[in-house]
């Protein structure tokens, strides 16, 4: 059978890496945003394959639906006409490549050290269901959940205060 979960996973992994690379290298910021949208959708697909249905829905609704639209909103509000003509990378970009490669290699080495290939198989019987996530979120993690609402409230107030037009005090 062609469409196995394994094949779907490798397709989504390859597509997410490709769209992430395209997102950080495109010259037009709007094109970058659209590639990031593709990345978020493919990561949501990987969440589905891993049995995290609720998180896949949150990824699509909150990340792709709210956060990315907010980014596009501000990008179009600022209206950067000369952006395409400017150099996309700073003159130090080889150092950025080295930094990214070394951090990725560090994470890779850490997982090679800790995850032995014998234990690499993900648990095949998915016993965690979406209702377990709900019970956990409103049971054991109810206090952090409420604190999250405080963080979001502080962020809303902060964003309004920061972006408000003040009368010039000079």
């Amino acid at each position: 059978m062609f469409f196995t979960p394994q094949a779907a996973f490798y397709y989504m992994a390859a597509a997410s890496v490709a769209s992430a690379i395209l997102a950080v290298t495109r010259k037009n910021p709007v094109h970058s945003m659209l590639w990031v949208l593709a990345l978020f959708m493919h990561v949501a697909g990987i969440f589905l394959l891993l049995g995290a249905e609720f998180l896949a829905a949150v990824q699509v609704i909150v990340y792709a639906g709210a956060i990315l639209v907010f980014y596009l909103f501000v990008l179009m509000l600022l209206d950067l006409p000369g952006e395409v003509a400017r150099p996309r990378f700073g003159p130090h970009w080889p150092f950025a490549v080295a930094g990214g490669l070394s951090l990725a290699a560090l994470a890779w080495l850490a997982q090679v050290e800790t995850i032995s290939p014998a234990h690499a198989e993900v648990a095949t019987s998915a016993t965690v269901e979406i209702s377990d996530v709900g019970w956990s979120l409103f049971g054991a993690f109810a206090l952090p959940f409420e604190i999250t609402s405080l963080i979001l409230l502080a962020a809303i107030v902060g964003a309004v205060v920061l972006a408000k037009r003040r009368p010039t005090a000079s």
Binding site: V43, Y63, L78, R86, W93, L152
Partner: protein
């Protein structure tokens, strides 16, 4: 049914994180630098969900932590884009090269 292996998931997460680091360090547009941070957060969420599945946690703690990461990312975007709008009012353009007022 063969599931994706944990080392493959962590490797993918590491690669995505590296791409995000490169984008944050190399791009000169402040909005695209913030988007690179989002790519890094997504990579970390991927490894958290993978661990939650790998350990078969009955409380699904990896998924809960990933949910909190998404919520804090939303807060970060609100404050960060508010800062960018305030910055853009004083100094139009989104390049970080012109923002040298704190440089001595």
């Amino acid at each position: 049914m063969i599931e994706p292996r944990m080392d493959v998931i962590l490797g993918l997460s590491a690669v995505l994180f590296g791409i995000g680091v490169f984008g944050f360090l190399a791009r000169r547009n402040i909005i695209l630098m913030l988007i690179s941070v989002e790519i890094m957060l997504n990579a970390v969420n991927l490894s958290l969900v993978g661990f939650s599945r790998h350990l078969d946690d009955p409380l699904a703690r990896g998924q809960i932590l990933a949910l909190f990461v998404i919520a804090v990312a939303a807060a970060e975007v609100g404050v960060g884009l508010g800062l960018i709008i305030a910055l853009n009012r004083n100094k139009p353009g989104a390049g970080v090269d012109e923002l040298t007022k704190l440089k001595w």
